[in-house]
């Protein structure tokens, strides 16, 4: 009896193994099934509400899967390996290149020609068309805009004799030093140690770029050196906290760090956590030096490379690119549109915070589309800068290391 069980178990295992190795078959879903859409973060329920009219109009069911931001890489790897992906998916701009390199996204150049709603000309300039093409191919259409602006505590600035938010980075550094002089444990500005775009924004504002003429990453420029001066200077002045576990929302609400650069999500976090501060804080465009460029950090939408529902997927993209849809998404979920017509909408412009975001979006760029920004160039950049400011590493040697490590990375 026992022997038979063992045999059965063995047979079962062998069958299981055989099943595992059979992964080269085409297991795309039947073309009439519902559209599967991957939405990043926790907005899945809101997204279902958004697409209700689409389903009512077209009869196409939409099945929404919410993917947590920190599970994106894993889901992508699994989906690519198994060949079993969604039909439509949201892609954070910093991950766009990774997705495209994996061959996960359907090139859209031809489809866009037939669908005027998806024309790159309809969208904010920093994020559409060539700005987010990978290898010369369009693989995504813009979905939501996100940018970085300067948050400041007007009450604390005024108490310390500072009339308004700093307009230039030099002013910001001086104001931050003044505010840090309020006493022990008080700072003027906050630099998140995980924020790799910040030094890039500083470089843009010095009038430079981190990508050279030949499309390769190039940090060996006077503009980047000036950005490093600024970054390390803020630490040298004692204007920024040095602990990695500093909480930016708490730091802003308590007034420990009365200035910082962050995205619209922080405005919501502050309003939720400290409604009593209403009127004591505001946002403005990032400080300028040569320019006042900020980061364009939204999400795009793409179509999975071997979807069986290509037409329906493109219909959905068209629906989502309509100004009206994007405006309702702002209402439901608080994320800014990418369609120019929606950004210029009066209802949207009535909110003073949104006015600042829209103004900043007009002068915002996406990070260079290198392979794996977060784990590669971005991580190297942060390590180098933080070695200098936190560990007292030698600046020239550390930067020389950074140049050597990153110069072979290219956007092509």
């Amino acid at each position: 009896m026992k022997r038979r069980t063992a045999l059965l178990l063995a047979a079962g295992l062998v069958a299981g193994l055989a099943g595992c190795s059979d992964d080269d078959g085409d297991n795309a879903a039947a073309s009439d099934g519902p559209l599967t859409v991957w939405i990043m973060g926790d907005s899945g329920a809101n997204f279902e509400q958004l697409v209700e009219p689409f389903t009512a109009d077209t009869g196409i069911d939409v099945e929404v899967v919410a993917i947590p931001w920190d599970g994106v890489d894993q889901r992508l790897t699994t989906a690519v390996a198994s060949g079993d992906g969604p039909d439509v998916l949201q892609i954070g701009l910093s991950k766009l290149r990774t997705f495209a390199d994996a061959g996960a996204l359907l090139p859209l150049d031809d489809a866009i020609a037939d669908r005027p709603a998806l024309d790159p000309a309809n969208f904010a300039e920093g994020v559409a068309g060539d700005a987010t093409a990978v290898g010369g191919q369009l693989v995504s259409v813009p979905w939501i805009s996100d940018t970085r602006v300067l948050f400041y505590r007007s009450d604390i600035l005024a108490e310390n004799g500072i009339d308004g938010p700093p307009a230039t980075w030099d002013d910001l550094r001086a104001d931050a030093a003044t505010l840090a002089g309020r006493g022990d444990g008080q700072y003027g500005y906050y630099i998140p140690q995980w924020d790799s775009p910040l030094p890039v924004v500083m470089t843009w504002d010095q009038g430079g770029d981190i990508v050279g003429e030949d499309g390769a990453i190039d940090f060996d420029t006077p503009e980047f050196a000036a950005a490093v001066d600024l970054y390390t200077g803020l630490y040298a002045d004692g204007s920024v906290p040095t602990n990695a576990d500093f909480d930016q929302t708490q730091g802003f609400i308590s007034g420990v760090t009365p200035m910082l650069i962050s995205g619209p999500y922080l405005a919501k976090a502050i309003a939720d956590a400290a409604p009593e501060l209403d009127g004591a804080w505001s946002v403005t465009t990032v400080p300028a030096a040569e320019s006042g460029t900020s980061l364009f950090a939204g999400s795009n939408l793409g179509v999975w490379h071997d979807t069986a529902n290509e037409d329906a997927a493109l219909d959905l993209l068209e629906f989502l690119s309509a100004p009206q849809t994007q405006l309702s998404w702002y209402e439901i979920n608080g994320e800014l549109p990418t369609v120019t017509a929606a950004l210029e909408d009066e209802a949207l412009a009535a909110d003073p915070l949104v006015q600042v975001y829209v103004e900043q979006l007009a002068d915002a760029k996406v990070l260079p589309t290198v392979p794996n920004w977060d784990g590669g160039v971005g991580a190297d950049l942060l390590t180098a800068l933080n070695e200098i400011v936190l560990n007292g590493a030698d600046r020239d040697a550390t930067l020389a290391d950074l140049y050597a490590k990153t110069s072979s990375v290219s956007i092509d």
Binding site: R3, A6, L7, L9, A10, L13, V14, L17, D73, Q74, L76, T77, V80, A81, G83, T98, D101, A102, G103, A104, G185, Q193, T242, N243, A244, D245, F246, D247, Q250, G251, N372, D374, G375, G376, T383, N386, E387, L390, N391
Partner: protein, 292 residues
């Protein structure tokens, strides 16, 4: 069915499981480590190229991998003796009493071993927090400046190791307690009759008889610390500035964040060989004293 076949039939299920989940993955990793497999290779096998031993060459030239190995070595040197001494010491103390209180204590020491790592990271993250942490609050009561437990690269190594030691002690404690209870009472009584004191009894009777338990705990703890991953992953994610990046964290980042599957496979094979060598050396060292 002949007699000769029967034993094989009985070990078949175990062997199949071992081959499927033990040997096969290692062989696959060995093959992958000779290729430049990345995420595009995963999508389409045509994008995978055979590159010989290039990954290993790159690995030995990679200062980050060297640092990760050194960090792992630091954790092993700090963690293994701490766990063995601490769990043995506490086990010896707990073994002396059998009241309700002592039994409650035994359960208490075991709690960290059965608590989920995510809960542990949350609680310790708050204890260590520079701004609101309990440790810094207690220090502030005696006028000490806030300490950056997890942000200072030198200190973070110790902070992370402390959590792992705290978490690892409970299980080994139980192993020692079980071994202690297996020591025949006659030896202890004989020692008492000979007039041996408590300390002398522990040194000459208890510890030699615990030799196998100590060996077992040392080997398993050493293997666990060579693969040190959970605590730095949840507490610091390998930071600050790579100070807590153990070899396993490095491999995870290369493999699953940077999608360098070939490179990470090569690294995991190196780590596998390293652990195998360390374990074999330990087994060899043990053999002579088993014969006396």
């Amino acid at each position: 069915m002949g007699r000769g076949l029967t034993p094989y039939l009985f070990v078949t299920p175990a062997m199949l499981l071992l081959v499927t989940f033990g040997v096969l993955p290692i062989l696959v990793a060995a093959v992958v480590s000779l290729t430049d497999m990345d995420i595009s290779g995963l999508a389409n096998r045509d994008n995978v190229g055979f590159i010989g031993l290039d990954n290993y060459q790159r690995l030995f030239d990679d200062p980050d991998f060297r640092d990760a190995l050194l960090t792992t070595g630091f954790f092993v040197v700090l963690g293994v003796p701490s766990i063995v001494v601490l769990s043995l010491g506490v086990a010896l103390l707990l073994d002396r009493g059998d009241g309700r209180f002592v039994r409650a204590l035994r359960a208490f020491y075991f709690v960290p071993a059965v608590t989920g790592i995510v809960a542990i990271s949350l609680v310790w993250g708050y204890l260590y927090n520079t701004q609101f942490g309990l440790f810094n609050y207690l220090l502030s009561l005696v006028g000490v400046e806030p300490v950056q437990w997890l942000s200072d690269p030198a200190l973070a190594k110790f902070s992370v190791a402390l959590v792992a030691i705290w978490r690892g002690t409970g299980l080994n404690l139980i192993i020692f307690l079980a071994a202690l209870q297996g020591i025949p009472r006659v030896y202890l009584e004989a020692a008492a009759l000979d007039g041996a004191g408590a300390w002398r009894t522990i040194r000459s009777i208890t510890l030699p008889l615990l030799r196998f338990a100590i060996f077992f705990v040392t080997v398993t703890t050493m293997i666990a610390w060579l693969q040190f991953f959970d605590e730095p992953f949840v507490l610091t994610d390998g930071g600050p500035l790579g100070a807590t990046t153990s070899a396993s964290i490095f491999l995870y980042q290369e493999g699953f964040r940077n999608n360098q599957f070939g490179y990470a496979s090569a690294g995991s094979l190196v780590l596998f060989v390293l652990i195998a060598v360390v374990t074999v050396v330990q087994l060899r060292l043990r053999r002579p004293d088993a014969q006396d």
